[in-house]
Symmetry: C2
Subunit: 559 residues, 2 copies
């Protein structure tokens, strides 16, 4: 095993360092405004976002797995941090809370890596994830409105903003509004009309222009809120406050943050890896993100995750290895030294415009339409999660979504589709008699139950078979096609045994076909030879053909 430092040294000798440096520069240009803005969104001093974009990136470069995952402050996580820090006990500053959150997240992610809990991410279905992200994105956009227009309203979520606007009316400051709307318009125009290379530099250019304008016209004296001077670069290690009550109070939030940071980063890394025909190592992602967050906790940062927009940029700009993340950090350090003084003149409304344009351009409403067309109940769940995130909070929305996904899955498995099957003429293939022109035998019934035999549907097995037999009482033999049966749990085994016993009492015979290897292995291990008197056929066709011969006495399966 190489140490992280050694592997970093190896990487530095690779030939594609040039590409990585260039990609890193392009991403840093976007990261400077975003890191300031997302710290502000989380209710933290702006420089914390810059610190979170420095050393954590080295940690991910050393331990992560994706060459194009851009780690750092992320909009959705920032909103979750804001909600988590909303209930801090008196005497604890938001910055201290953010350090504890980052430390807890880091430990949770590393623990999850050690316990191989990466599969838990699969509990978040696509509808839940997109419902959540859409709700969070809209919440973020809404939270930026007061800053954008210079209103004194303090609310960070939709209900409290509505109450404030209802109580005090919509108040704005003219010049701030001009800065905010102007920045929005320029950013949108840049995305639309500038060539890609220039468009990538637009956010930084806008920042520089806005700072210059504010300094020339002395915007502060005209009532525009500015960012204010940042403290000088200070890389002394920070220590999260060791206060058991505080850690315990923030733990549920940290769990949720860790889950979202992991899942959203994984989705980004996987979708980019697919484009290159590569695979992602989920355990390495857990380690990389865990290390990055622990590093954030010890270097005065805030919780970090993988950013979709910046990762796409990193890939498009030609990043070849995780080293690009380390170069991004170096550029960020340089920027902090060079920009610390001028940033004091940046109007906050311009930063808000950066957030607004960044998050709203990530909205994918098309997915709602597609879900609605494909699966109504899942589309409704998506909408429910989105509205709950908007109107209540992120945690409740996510919880409802996970429970809803599980309920839909159980419901599907509880009501399997059942079909009588017959032979497609001229082939050895058997299909539903209601959908295809197929041939049947009068005394043998081929049945297909489209589900694994598990507890949710086990009790209905005999019933489903009996319903078909009542329409064709002359049937002496039932051949159950087991290719849709991917597993049989203990309830399913009991159901199969009862179906078998019931058919025997009626003087009928139960045979099985196309039982999969892993399923048959377990049936054999359970000693089913003691009660199962039918036969198991390799293919359904063989089962239909063999059945025409007289039954053999020995019940030994064919396979």
């Amino acid at each position: 095993m190489k140490t992280p430092l050694e592997s970093l040294q190896t990487r530095l000798r690779q030939p594609h360092v040039r590409e990585d440096v260039l990609a890193a520069f392009v991403v840093s240009v976007l990261l400077i405004p975003q890191s300031l803005a997302y710290a502000m969104l989380a209710g933290l001093p702006p420089q914390i976002g810059l610190y979170a974009s420095l050393l954590p990136l080295f940690a991910y470069a050393a331990l992560g797995s994706s060459p194009v995952l851009a780690v750092g402050p992320v909009a959705v996580l920032a909103l979750m941090i804001a909600q988590a820090l909303g209930g801090l006990p008196a005497g604890v500053s938001p910055a201290e809370g953010a350090l504890v959150l980052a430390a807890e997240m880091g430990l949770i992610l590393l623990l999850a890596a050690a316990l191989r809990l990466d599969a838990l991410a699969s509990l978040l279905s696509v509808p839940v994830l997109y419902g959540f992200e859409t709700g969070a994105t809209l919440s973020i956009a809404i939270s930026q409105l007061p800053v954008l227009i210079g209103s004194p309203a303090q609310g960070v979520d939709l209900p409290s903003l509505i109450r404030e606007f209802w109580a005090h009316g919509l108040v704005w400051q003219d010049l701030t509004l001009a800065y905010g709307l102007g920045a929005c318009a320029l950013l949108l125009a840049g995305r639309r009309w500038l060539p890609p290379t220039l468009a990538r530099l637009a956010p930084l250019g806008l920042l520089l222009a806005a700072m210059g304008l504010a300094w020339l016209t002395d915007a502060r004296s005209q009532g525009v809120t500015l960012l204010g001077s940042l403290p000088p670069l200070d890389l002394r290690p920070s220590l999260p406050r060791l206060d058991a009550a505080l850690w315990l109070a923030l733990l549920p939030h940290a769990l949720l943050l860790a889950l979202m940071a992991y899942v959203s980063s994984l989705v980004v890394a996987e979708s980019l890896a697919r484009r290159r025909g590569e695979r992602v190592n989920p355990a390495a992602e857990l380690r990389g993100l865990g290390a990055a967050n622990l590093m954030a906790a010890f270097s005065g940062g805030m919780p970090v995750g993988g950013s979709f927009s910046r990762s796409v940029l990193l890939q498009d700009a030609g990043s070849r290895s995780r080293l690009s993340g380390a170069f991004v950090a170096l550029f960020m350090g340089l920027a902090m030294v060079l920009l610390a003084a001028p940033l004091a003149w940046l109007p906050k409304a311009v930063l808000s415009a950066t957030i607004l344009v960044a998050v709203l351009s990530g909205l994918k409403l098309q997915l709602f339409v597609e879900a609605w067309r494909y699966a109504r109940p899942e589309a409704l769940l998506m909408l429910l999660v989105c509205l709950t995130v908007l109107g209540v909070n992120l945690a409740v929305g996510l919880g409802l979504g996970v429970l809803g996904s599980i309920a839909l899955l159980l419901q599907r498995s509880a009501r399997p589709h059942v079909a009588q099957i017959g032979r497609v003429p001229g082939t050895e293939h058997y299909r539903n008699v209601d959908r295809h022109a197929v041939e049947c035998q009068p005394d043998v019934m081929g049945l297909r139950i489209d589900e694994s035999l598990v507890f949710t549907n086990a009790r209905g097995l005999s019933d489903a078979v009996q319903a078909y037999l009542q329409t064709q009482p002359q049937v002496r033999r039932v051949l159950l096609l087991m290719s849709p049966v991917n597993s049989i749990d203990f309830s399913g085994l009991e159901a199969l045994r009862e179906l078998h016993a019931g058919l025997m009492q009626q003087g009928r015979r139960l045979d099985l076909s196309e039982v999969k290897g892993p399923v048959l292995d377990r049936l054999r291990a359970s000693g089913w030879q003691r009660w199962f008197e039918g036969r198991v056929f390799l293919s359904h066709h063989q089962g239909m053909v063999e059945g025409e011969r007289p039954l053999r006495d020995d019940p030994s399966p064919v396979i």
Copy 2:
């Protein structure tokens, strides 16, 4: 629609009334001691068990569906009632609490029938149900020990009994112990050595003998606790106390009781119906049980359900219709008139012996062994539920069990078995290359993923396919056998689309075979023609053979 009274009249004119009367007599003989004993077990005056065995049986006969389900007081429900009534507010007698519970259960069951919630019963898997019943049975047996030996201990569950015995030592009353153990021995001997007809009369004979002996020897004066005189038969309607706080406090218990009463009755009715090749109507069972419990609430009874032992007896004794239940009720009324006075002399230890022998003979430990052999995790869940019921309480045990079953189901669907498949020589059938001697083509890979494409495994789809492709990079075409795919949810659809896009970018082609009708219907409705450029083959064999021809330009599916 006939009214219940009309349908009862129709039934009375049926020819099999004689069989029903005989079966009813045999069951009444067992029901007399059991109804007294289960009322006692529930912490209620003994006559309440008798009332619960009268009018509720008419209600089930009118609205239920099973001709052999013996409704009335049940041991496991009695234990649940005892736990529910343990926390009654001051000033409410257990009998009043039992009426409220029965009324709530009746309303819940009727509401469930109206809302078609019968599918919720499928949440109780076999391991959970047997773990629960075993734990409850052992709890019941333990709760009878103090009565059987004449100890003053009051505990109704294992932990409190252990504490009491620990604190006060094991105290018993000699003559009570003699009655109790003697009754146990005689009941067990009767089951073992008497011919079946006489064995059925044994419990009543034992009761009569014990009453006679206690009267002759004046057992009360020698310290034996007797049942005491019952109030005379009183069929005036009772009214459950209309106290919102009381109803609310008992509601969770009533929900649990309703679920268990329904599921355990359904299991009994279904297992007996299977022997006759008949089907059970779950909605009618809900209505019948709901009506029976409502009737219990208005006639001074307690919550009722279907008894396994008495139902088997009813079927074995030749019951042909639900009318037998009504005759059981008539016999019970007669018994109450005739036996009210002598029952006063019945030693409680003899009743406890009846309960002990009845419940312990229903223990099926064999199922634990079978579960252990077939599915280790489910056997452990069974044991966990059993121990939780014994050591904590019934509600926690049941809750843990349901959550555990769902977790195991999710885990199974999250880690599907994947196999490369090849042609079984001389057939059109394709099986796992690792298990069978099959033929493969070098440039086309046949793959089978043994699970529906749902959110728990969707994220792993591309990964699983990519893992196989990395071992055979020369493959130009992947043919996915869809027969194990019983459904595709929205997450699965996205995964399929991403797999398709990923393979396209690598210059490979994705085709599907044996997509089931319902799955294909939904894919088409979603408009997948816009992105899916592969083909859908009716059979996997066709897909392998057709692939040898040049690809057609039109992407229209074959089916």
